[in-house]
């Protein structure tokens, strides 16, 4: 067992997911199975293999520094549940 129920609760909270007691048990089992499976790779000797930081064999993809036309505001707010024509409106964020 690598993952405890506590870990599941912690990760769920960080991801803002509401998980029932039943689901917690289920997820704990599933996540452990996944990690068990992946941990098989730990048996492979990787001493002479460079760590992979990206899955694609690509590098140095850039765009030139040119400003282009922006999206017009109507389109900007098209998917917004709430807006005032200038801003997105969200539930009050309390600071401090």
């Amino acid at each position: 067992m690598i993952i405890s129920k506590n870990d599941v609760e912690h990760v769920a909270k960080l991801a803002r997911l509401e998980v029932s007691e039943e689901e917690k048990e289920e997820l704990t089992g599933q996540l452990n199975n996944i990690l068990d499976y992946v941990s098989k790779m730990n048996k492979i000797d990787t001493n002479n293999i460079k760590p992979t930081s990206h899955v694609l064999h690509l590098k140095n993809v850039f765009r030139e520094d040119v400003a282009k036309e922006n999206l017009n505001r109507e389109k900007v707010f098209l998917n917004a549940p709430e807006h005032d024509g200038e801003h997105f409106i969200v539930p009050q964020v309390i600071e401090s």
Binding site: H10, K13, L14, R16, S53, H54, V55, L56, L58, K59, N60, V61, F62, R63, E64, D65, V66, A67, K68, N70, L71, R73, V76, F77, N79, E82, D84, E86, H87, F88, I89, V90, P91, Q92, V93, E95, S96
Partner: protein, 474 residues
């Protein structure tokens, strides 16, 4: 007990590229809310961010100016957290392979040079802005700033007083200004500074428990915020208490810091490599090309002003701390020979008017060549040093050439001996008491008489000539 102070700074600087870091939206400051946006910086699903090449080159340039090693291999990671100013719910940043590492900045501490190490510089995107509407139970979000390119410069905890932190920040700002990668305006938020500060008993190696300070919106604010924390933590430790490791917010108006509770889990960012962005590989040739573009940096420029122009160290330091002033000085020296006179005018009248009007040097109407011209007019006797101040004020206000102002206002110095002699004789005749005092050895009486002559000529009399004539005629 005596305590030692330990401070480290994290500085965010907005890069002044034309477009944002991962999309082609305008990077201009301000703009109507939510007008500098596109699907990429709005965090729409299915979009593909692509790195702006200038952002990378600006970051490299800043790194070289701060004596960093440039990473040959670098990548982007996702920093995950939920906040309404971050549409994607993750910030694209660099975690374990930042673009620059292991640099340093030298600062002056009581006449000695102290080296402050820089741990790393990484590239990342800025978040949006929350506009709080009082009492409506809601907040408004402006996404314009999302995706504005930033570099974060992380120092080691090498500073030992709030003053040292202030010096470091000042020097860092000046270096970034010289390299022209950022505007560095703290008030506009293009330069932001967070601090870690802890105390430890004098002589103890191990660091104490630190507080993280945020929201210091000016250079003075950084100094005052840190000074307040030193006081607060000293009081806690002296009363036998323990400093809590937490983030605290500086309130500039009240002059206090207060705890920002409720973000205990905020540090669990679950970084992982961003699969949308491919790694960056930089070769020697590219590094050399950027190196060749580096301008003369503040320390080198200061040395030049001292060694080649013969300026006192203090003057050279003040002038080179601001790139704008340094350029103004150099330009002015192209038309005038005496460096100390130029520096006096820059540090004196020019700085005074800039401060009074809350202006930056690049907003100043006086061209350096015009100041040089004015200084020549003092030397050739057209105007006196005192009248020059009036002329300068007018130049500052209107940007007109000094000759034009002198002509318009009739400020030409009276150097005609005959004309001046008449006035001198009048003043002598009208002030017999002062003349008597002078004959009785009171040198001070001369000053009074000179004053009277200046008054009669509205300051236009040639002072040297006045002195000569006065003494002859008494």
């Amino acid at each position: 007990m005596e305590y030692g102070i330990v401070i480290g700074l994290e500085v965010h600087a907005e890069l002044k590229t034309k477009s944002k870091i991962f999309c082609g939206c305008s990077n201009e400051f301000g703009g109507q809310p939510n007008t500098h946006v596109c699907p990429i910086c709005l965090g729409m699903p299915g979009v593909l961010p692509v790195l702006n090449k200038s952002v990378l080159e600006f970051a490299m340039k800043a790194g070289m100016a701060i004596n960093c090693e440039i990473s040959r291999y670098s990548k982007f990671d996702r920093k995950n957290y939920f906040y309404p100013d971050l549409p994607k719910a993750y910030q694209i940043s660099q975690f374990d392979l930042p673009i620059c590492k292991d640099g340093y900045i030298d600062i002056d501490v009581e006449g000695e040079t102290k080296r402050i190490r820089v741990n790393r510089i990484h590239m990342e995107e800025d978040a949006g802005k929350l506009v709080h509407t009082e009492g409506y139970g809601s907040s408004a979000v402006d996404v314009n700033r999302c995706g504005v390119p930033l570099i974060e410069i992380v120092s080691e905890a090498d500073m030992r007083s709030p003053q040292e932190a202030y010096e470091y920040l000042t020097k860092l700002k000046s270096i970034l200004e010289y390299t022209e990668v950022s505007d560095c305006k703290m008030q506009e938020g293009s330069l932001r500074c967070d601090a870690n500060i802890s105390l430890r008993p004098k002589g103890q190696e191990e660091f104490g428990i630190r507080a993280e300070l945020k929201n210091m919106n000016s250079f003075k604010g950084v100094l005052k915020g840190l000074e307040y924390e030193v006081k607060r933590q000293t009081e806690i430790l002296e009363s036998g208490g323990e400093v809590v490791q937490e983030t605290r917010r500086w309130d500039d108006e009240k002059g206090v810091t207060s705890s920002m509770r409720g973000k205990e889990e905020a540090h669990d960012y679950r970084y992982f490599p961003d699969p949308d962005l491919v790694p960056i590989e930089v070769d020697e040739e590219w590094i050399q090309r950027i190196k060749d573009e580096l301008p003369e940096l503040p320390d080198v420029r200061k040395k030049r002003l001292i060694e080649e122009d013969g300026l006192p160290e203090y003057d050279a330091g003040v002038i080179t701390a601001s790139k704008g002033l340094a350029v103004f000085y150099d330009e002015c020296m192209k038309g005038y020979h005496n460096s100390k006179v130029v520096s006096n005018w820059i540090m004196g009248e020019l700085s005074m008017y800039l401060n009074e009007n809350n202006m930056e040097i690049d907003e100043c109407k006086i061209a350096p060549a015009q100041l040089a011209e004015m200084l020549k007019l003092i030397d050739n006797g057209t105007i006196s040093g005192k009248i020059a101040k009036t002329v300068f004020a007018e130049m500052f206000a209107s940007g007109k050439d000094p000759e034009v102002i002198i002509k318009e206002k009739g400020l030409v110095q009276i150097s005609d001996e005959g004309e001046l002699a008449k006035i001198v004789e009048e003043v002598i005749a009208n002030n017999p008491k002062s003349v008597e005092d002078y004959h009785n050895g009171k040198e001070k009486a001369v000053g009074f008489l000179v004053g009277q002559i200046m008054k009669a000529t509205r300051g236009k009399a040639n002072p040297a000539l006045v002195n000569k004539l006065l003494k002859e005629k008494m």
